[in-house]
Amino acid sequence: MAAVDSGLTKRGLLRHEAVGLFGVVERNLYLVKRYFLWDLAFLLWTVANTLTIVFIARGVGLEGAARNELETRLLVGGVIWAFLGIIFEIVTETVAWERWEGTIEYTFMAPVSRPVHLIGMGVFAVIYGFVRAALVFLAVVAFIGIHVPHANYGAAIALLAISSVSFIGVGMMTAVLPLISPEKGMQLGFVAQGLMLVVSGVYYPVSVLPGWMQWVAKISPATYALRGNRAQILTGAGLAWADVWPLLVIGTLSIPAGLVVFRAGERYAKRHGKLKRSG
């Protein structure tokens, strides 16, 4: 067989994939630059949305330290919701946005591996989601005047970073939905995000949930991110192993599972002719 090959050695292949990953992050930075005003409006909407949640603490008749604690609990829930929302949205848009712009065929016929493509989206999503979450946190703290004197920001950031791996893995699974169903896939991604937060105690303790939901909460990475971040912001707690090990386990399982699910979805799309632009 006299095949013409790509001429890439193993090292060359690694370099090729690294450049591809950089390309995904770079393209998303270009998009943020070009859609800056849209991003700004979305940020303001998220701040306003978080404020509506945090103001609940002022409507339940609490005063002083108790009110400050409830405000902080709700704020952490709102910020994690915003962070997770961005990761899900960006990773899910791996397919949806490219389909909408019409570039999907060019991207999926390019010689870059799907793990690199998806992880590139995930890396950008974590960076972008973290910046937005930090801005939302600071804006709400300043606007309402929440006091967080003991906050351990270093531990909070480290826990968010660890939990991001799991979030990206779950996001990969939902990213396949627009591939299978161009019309409803994106919305189903939002449903998955909402369900994860409902069972994870986003604005309330997991203990108030029905028994079966508490069981589901155990396998949701958001449960440990919320619990750990609340302790770190309220009491200055460090990284707790009880939060870290479940996140490591879920992350280790969810990334390969996400890739397997996405690969199966891509194969289905190639079999049924769904890997093409809309319109």
Partner: protein, 273 residues
Amino acid sequence: MQHRSQAVVVRDLRKEFSRPRGLHGRRPPRAALKGISFEIARGECVAVLGQNGSGKSTLVRVLSTLLLADGGDAHVFGHDVFAEARAVQHLVNRVSVEASFFKKLSAAENLAYAARFYGLMPAQTRAEIPRILERVGFPAERRGEAMEHLSRGMQQKVALARALLTSPVLLLLDEPTTGLDPRSKQEVQAFIRELRLRHDSTILLCTHDMQEAEALADRIGLLDRGELLFLEPVAEVKARYGVDTLEEAFFVATGRAYDDEKTDDDRDRAVFA
């Protein structure tokens, strides 16, 4: 086994698509490719003619690794399109009827994104993008403008630049001049000729424009309703059917005029092609 001089070998390639349910329930699947076979030699330019929905785009999408066939096989420079997709992807690029870019991004940003997937670093693309844009007749000083502000002809030139940037040895052109004004069409055609002269590129041109096919290709094939009726030099096509034009050859081969009104089935084909 395939000989080195063969860029593309397709054998008994079949693809069908399921159709949405109609008023009277489930409808049978629609065959987009009905066991087509052909070969393209390295460095050759082959045009495949066909009406909308004839299966041209399905063929291009199979060779681009975007579709899995239902039967048969396809090889690009010795690599199985289905089993060795990554190897094929390194060798192939395409230009389609839709320019397909991120509309808010500039030409340079879109090209940089495409180039990264083929391993080109920023240092390389900084120099290469203006050079290639100039070669396809795109004013390099406009490379920072958002794609949505460019004319259709300009966008198509950027699409050509995107394909060229990755140095493909097999270039798939799917209706590259459809919808372009006459001047842009001539410029794109001139560029395709130049590409053949200067590069070791093999070209598969799918088009419904018979003049374009005759002007650019070494051999011309006719794909009709998923069947490849012939693939040979234009003079042989005319001699075989005893006609003077490709339109007449189409009529003799199919019993229909090339511009005939489409049937409902053909409309379905257009959706899935």
